[in-house]
């Protein structure tokens, strides 16, 4: 299919300025600066139904409106390229492949919310992505798209780079702001949200890389065109990450609403070991498990939620027959226990307790009443942290116990069902 972000739906190396312009690059910016007021750009994004691609799926137009409507200045745009979700590679691939598309989105976002400075917050381990964005920035400066009085308008934008530490919590939007301010990546208590009091206390829109990559095409071709792709509540496409459990791992851009089976079988070429799929995490480690019988679920926010899970940032985890779900769930619990920043007592207790319970069960030292404790610990701590990490281990663990109880019972009896 024709992609919105990748012209052919898959990445094909770095797209230079000429190739980008040949497919309409920077025409959205020209159009906006010549024909549209900032508020009209914002309204177009709002009308498109664009939702954040970093995991939460929050409407981008709403986030921008909160930012633009806060009278304080200066305002800031932050490109969030922290991307430390295990298995996620889409933001990296986007920055390496279509840097101008992202940059044009950033400039449009700044114009829409009245920001005068943008920070490119990129995972410091992503050397190629940083270099790609640096090159694009230099080219855009030459064209006069970044700097003072862009296209002769009373609108200027300074773009700066900020290295992101290689830590999971460093991608949380308030932790991003802390890092740019020169501090440790510790999430702030919300409210206030960054849109009203963000970087240096000023209105700040923190947007995921993929989210910003969608902006220029929407402005160029219109929100109605955009809404014609995907589903009513999840318009557009999403870039999904497939790991080496399939024959063709990589990132695939597909319209929202595409069946999960199509992604795994047609794009990914099926499972590498040829075995039947036992379980899927459709939205990374913080999403609930689906079973192998649910491969026909449509990949959009509502359908995946109705199936009992969430789409997150499009990282698909695949577990074939023979994999033990207790072992997999323990890895997830230990990941969150390790990545909890530790500043909220409830999160520290919850993530450690869940990991400890699972470890006991995995080691054959568990007891049937232990299986009933997960839900209690999760419910007790729900929403008690500054950030959403405290809510993340719940869906995979509770769904694992519910859907794959026989794996847990096998471990209680001292035998791992995996092979």
């Amino acid at each position: 299919m024709e992609g919105i972000l990748f012209p052919r739906g898959v990445a094909e190396g770095r797209e230079g300025l000429d190739a980008y312009r040949a497919r309409g690059g920077y025409q959205a910016l020209d159009k906006a600066l010549k024909q549209l007021f900032p508020r009209e750009v914002l309204q177009e994004i709002d009308a498109s139904g664009l939702r954040g691609r970093g995991g939460a799926g929050f409407p981008t137009g709403k986030k921008w409106a909160f930012t633009a409507d806060t009278p304080e200045t200066p305002r800031y745009i932050i490109l969030n390229g922290g991307e430390d979700e295990p298995g996620s590679k889409k933001d990296r691939v986007l920055m390496e492949s279509v840097p101008h598309l992202i940059l044009e989105g950033i400039i449009l976002a700044a114009y829409a919310v009245g920001a005068s400075k943008a920070y490119l917050y990129i995972n410091a381990a992503y050397k190629d992505a940083i270099e790609s964005m640096e090159q694009a920035l230099a080219e855009a400066k030459k064209l006069g798209y970044v700097g003072e009085r862009i296209s002769g308008k009373d609108f200027g934008l300074e773009v700066l780079f900020a290295p992101a530490p290689h830590e999971y919590v460093a991608g949380e939007d308030t932790a991003v702001i802390e890092v740019i301010e020169g501090k440790k990546p510790l999430p702030r208590q919300k409210p206030p949200f960054p849109a009203t009091a963000g970087l240096y206390g000023k209105p700040t829109a923190v947007n995921n890389v993929e989210t910003l990559a969608n902006v220029a095409p929407i402005i160029l071709r219109g929100s109605e065109w955009y809404r014609g792709i995907g589903t009513a509540e999840s318009p557009g496409t999403m870039v999904f990450s497939l790991d080496d459990q399939v024959n063709r791992p990589g990132v695939y851009e597909l319209p929202f609403g595409t069946p999960l089976r199509y992604l795994i079988e047609d794009c990914g070429g099926g499972t590498r070991d040829g075995k039947k799929i036992k379980a899927v995490l459709p939205g990374g480690p913080s999403s609930a498990f689906l079973t192998g019988d649910q491969l026909d679920v449509a990949l959009d926010h509502n359908s995946v939620r109705a199936a009992g899970s969430s789409i997150g940032c499009g990282v698909i985890g695949i577990f074939t027959e023979g994999r033990c779900i207790v072992e997999e769930t323990l890895k997830i619990a230990e990941f969150f226990a390790a990545e909890s920043c530790g500043q909220c007592p409830a999160c520290r207790m919850e993530t450690n307790t869940l990991a400890m319970l699972l470890k006991k069960i995995q080691q054959g030292q568990g007891s049937a009443p232990m299986l009933e404790q997960f839900g209690k610990v999760i419910a007790f701590n729900k929403g008690k942290g500054f950030c959403s990490l405290i809510n993340m281990p719940g869906p995979p663990i509770e769904s694992a116990v519910k859907l794959f109880r026989s794996d847990f019972e096998a471990h209680l009896a001292g035998k791992c069902p995996g092979n």
């Binding site: 007592p345 207790m349 319970l357 232990m370 404790q373 007790f380």
Partner: protein, 107 residues
């Protein structure tokens, strides 16, 4: 079955001296010949602001904000003396959650 004295050793409790407290309780237990007790570290009871936290199990006595000066009274309780009411300040819903966990054998 051995009775257990769990002393939290996570960051907040540690910052408030829980390592010292655990050693002190161990010492007193040895001195008193409390052979049926085992003094063990615990990773977090979720009452960090009120630490250091000490939980006696299966008695289900939870002592919060424990200072070195409280150790003699706690050891006295472990040896059959009265419980230390002044240190029993933790919210009952958290107690219930943690006691249920301990009942499953997670320690």
């Amino acid at each position: 079955m051995k009775r257990i004295c769990l002393v939290c050793q996570n960051v907040d409790c540690k910052n408030r001296g829980s390592e010292e407290i655990m050693k002190e309780i161990q010492q007193r237990a040895t001195d008193k010949g409390l052979d049926d007790w085992e003094v063990k570290p615990y990773m977090c009871f979720g009452a960090c602001q009120e630490g250091p936290n000490v939980v006696l199990y299966p008695e289900k006595s939870w002592y919060a904000g424990v200072k070195k000066g409280d150790v003699a009274d706690i050891a006295n309780h472990m040896g059959g003396g009265p419980d230390v009411k002044r240190l029993d300040t933790i919210d009952s819903s958290l107690k219930e959650l943690i006691y249920q966990l301990l009942d499953t054998g997670v320690f």
